[in-house]
Symmetry: C2
Subunit: 212 residues, 2 copies
């Protein structure tokens, strides 16, 4: 049975789940969610896919799951990959996935959305500056952690990497300048060289040029 | 061996871990972190406890772990409690813990900090209003989900409850008016009636009156 992932290209949270599926070798296919035309707010989506109107949502036969970090855990249980190779490693992976959800992707996704996908009059420059300040602290933490390491936890790719990279390959500006953070830059390059890796706009349907 | 939790009363993220320990029946004790006098920024704390300067941190013999959601997972593995009673339940618990980290506690903690623990001139009212708007959407999601249910996942207390409640018992104003959200209110009451439950300022050392 082919796993379906409800997702769209602009969503870094979708990308985290799509990239985990893609690199896991599991059989999967994306199902396009027309977020920018309000599909996640329709009763059809809320009834059939996700009652909170979230994306991504994984559907594997009768089983449905949202939240990228939970989907990644499901993919790890099913494929045996990316969940950490020791018990201590397993907690470290979860720790970084939570850190990402708390400090990095949540802020990056919101800031990128405000700066690129909302009409200008809805974007308060103080809110953007405040978020960018918090994000800078998060980039610093990640950059320092990656000094002298290939991957965030242990010796190979884990969900920690697949979570933290969620918004960092996108071209739209939100204050992340990859060249400023050499260890993040090298790690993103390393991850992009993994067999099967694709850029979010190549891995999932939908991108800003569709609306241009 | 008594588990140690580095924590402080004002920290809702610490409370999530402390409450899980408290209700699990495991042997534990709090170790006070003097956050407001900068202890987490000292080299001693960063070297001995946590390199990112985080709290809470759990120490169980030689094992150390940060991020409240990861600590909760460790407590569940060790005690057999709060992690979900079925495989599907396990993913649902993780899903709500991630949702909380992404949408609820991260915003609530930051907004409460800005409004109560920072000098007024550092608080931008637009930032606070923006955060409160996002939080309102999160309260709505949680309130709707709890309609007709005793607990967030399944038939008993899980880490989903122990995560989402993290900031909701505190007296300091941050825009959460419990009376406005009847299902959240009833659930917080229900949780507070569990044997062993304590309010954050009773469960952990440190509270704002120490600095008054």
């Amino acid at each position: 049975m082919t796993i379906k992932l409800y997702c769209f290209g602009e969503s870094g949270n979708s990308y985290k789940a799509a990239l985990a599926l893609q690199l896991s070798g599991l059989d999967w296919e994306p199902v396009y969610v027309d977020f920018f035309n309000g599909e996640t707010r329709t009763p059809e989506y809320r009834n059939a896919v996700n009652e909170l109107g979230e994306a991504p949502v994984l559907v594997d036969g009768d089983f449905k799951l949202s939240q990228s970090g939970a989907i990644q855990a499901y993919i790890s249980d099913k494929s045996g990959k990316f969940g950490g190779t020791t018990q201590a490693g397993k907690y470290e992976v979860l720790r970084w996935v939570l850190w990402d959800n708390h400090k990095l992707s949540s802020q990056a996704g919101m800031t990128r959305f405000l700066m690129n996908f909302l009409p200008e009059q809805h974007c308060n420059p103080d809110v953007i500056a405040f978020s960018q300040g918090r994000l800078k602290a998060a980039y610093q933490v990640l950059n320092d952690h990656l000094e002298g390491r290939d991957w965030i936890v242990g010796d190979g790719v884990t969900n920690a990497d697949l979570s933290c990279c969620g918004y960092l390959y996108y071209p739209e500006p939100f204050g992340f300048d990859r060249a400023q953070w050499p260890h993040i830059d090298a790690w993103l390059m390393r991850l992009s060289e993994q067999p099967g890796w694709k850029h979010p706009y190549d891995l999932m349907p939908g991108n800003p040029s569709d609306r241009a």
